[in-house]
C-alpha cells in the first residue's frame, strides 16, 4: 500500500489557516470532502469520531507531529489529509509541545488490516528525523508529494 494512494493532492494542505485542533481537523475534512473522499454531510460525524479518539489519548505523539484518525462507517476507501501548521497548534501532545504536522487518516470501519498497515507505514516514516523535518518545513503541495513518493520508494 502506498501513501500517495491515500493522500491525494487536494487534501495536502501546506499552510493550514486554523489555529486550534478542532478547526484544523475541520479544515482537513473539508479538503477531503472537496476532493470526493467523503461526503460533506458526514463531516460533523467524522469530526466527532476523530475528536472522541483524541479524548481517549492525544495522537500528538511528540516532536511536532500528530496522527489523528478514525475508522468510520461512512468512509468507503481509506483516505487521508496532511496539514502543515507553520505557527504550531496545541494538540495536548505527550511532550507538551505544539504540533506542526498533522497526518489525518480515515479508514472504512470494516477494514482493520489496511488501517493497521497504513498506520504502521506512517509511523515508521514519522519516526525518521529526516522525514519529520522535511514535512514540517514543506511550503508547497509539490514538496509534500515528493516526500511521500520518496517514502513509498523506501528512500
Amino acid at each position: 500500500m502506498k501513501l500517495r494512494d491515500i493522500f491525494s493532492t487536494g487534501a495536502i494542505l501546506p499552510a493550514l489557516t486554523a489555529t486550534n485542533r478542532e478547526a484544523a481537523l475541520l479544515e482537513m475534512l473539508n479538503a477531503l470532502a472537496g476532493n470526493g473522499s467523503m461526503a460533506e454531510s458526514d463531516i460533523p460525524d467524522v469530526l466527532a469520531s476523530v475528536l472522541y479518539r483524541e479524548a481517549n489519548g492525544s495522537t500528538g505523539i511528540g516532536r511536532g507531529v500528530a496522527v489523528p484518525h478514525s475508522r468510520h462507517p461512512s468512509i468507503v476507501k481509506m483516505s487521508g489529509s496532511i496539514g502543515i501548521a507553520p505557527a504550531g497548534i496545541d494538540f495536548s501532545s505527550l511532550d507538551g509541545q505544539p504540533v506542526f504536522s498533522i497526518v489525518l487518516v480515515l479508514s472504512p470501519a470494516h477494514d482493520q488490516n489496511s488501517h493497521l498497515t497504513v498506520m504502521n507505514i506512517i509511523f515508521n516514516n514519522l519516526q525518521r528525523d529526516g522525514f519529520r523535518k522535511l514535512l514540517r518545513n514543506s511550503v508547497s503541495v509539490e514538496q509534500i508529494v515528493e516526500l511521500l513518493d520518496e517514502a513509498d520508494a523506501g528512500r
Binding site: 479518539r53 481517549n56 489519548g57 495522537t59 505523539i61 511528540g62 516532536r63 496522527v67 484518525h69 475508522r71 505527550l94 470501519a109 482493520q112 488501517h115 493497521l116 498506520m119 504502521n120 509511523f123 514519522l126 519516526q127
Partner: protein, 94 residues
C-alpha cells in the same frame, strides 16, 4: 527463533499514560527480542514495544485488552516481565 505471546489487560486506572509508557518501553528495551504490543477493536494498532511514540498511540485505557508478541532468544522472559509490570499496575497504588 522462539516466539512467545501473552494476552494482557490494562488494570491501572490511568491506563497506558505517559509514565507507564516510559516504564513499558524501558523494560522492552532490556530484551533482545522484537516486541509488538497489539490492540484490536475499533481503534486497532500494532505498536513497537520499544517505541514510546508507538505505545502512546495505543491509547490503552483501563480495561483494554492487548496482545504481547515477542520474537527472539529471550521472548518468553520478555512477555513474562511485561505481563508482570502491567498486572502490577506499573508499581503504583492505582
Amino acid at each position: 527463533m522462539p516466539v512467545a505471546t501473552r494476552k494482557i489487560v490494562i488494570v491501572n486506572q490511568d491506563g497506558l499514560h505517559a509514565r507507564p509508557v516510559m516504564q513499558l518501553s524501558d523494560l522492552a528495551n532490556q530484551f533482545e527480542s522484537n516486541i509488538i504490543i497489539k490492540k484490536g477493536g475499533d481503534d486497532p494498532f500494532d505498536a513497537d514495544g520499544k517505541s514510546v511514540m508507538q505505545l502512546m498511540i495505543l491509547a490503552a485505557t483501563e480495561g483494554t485488552e492487548l496482545l504481547v508478541e515477542a520474537d527472539g532468544v529471550d521472548a518468553e522472559q520478555a512477555v513474562e516481565k511485561i505481563a508482570e509490570l502491567v498486572a502490577g499496575k506499573f508499581g503504583s497504588a492505582t
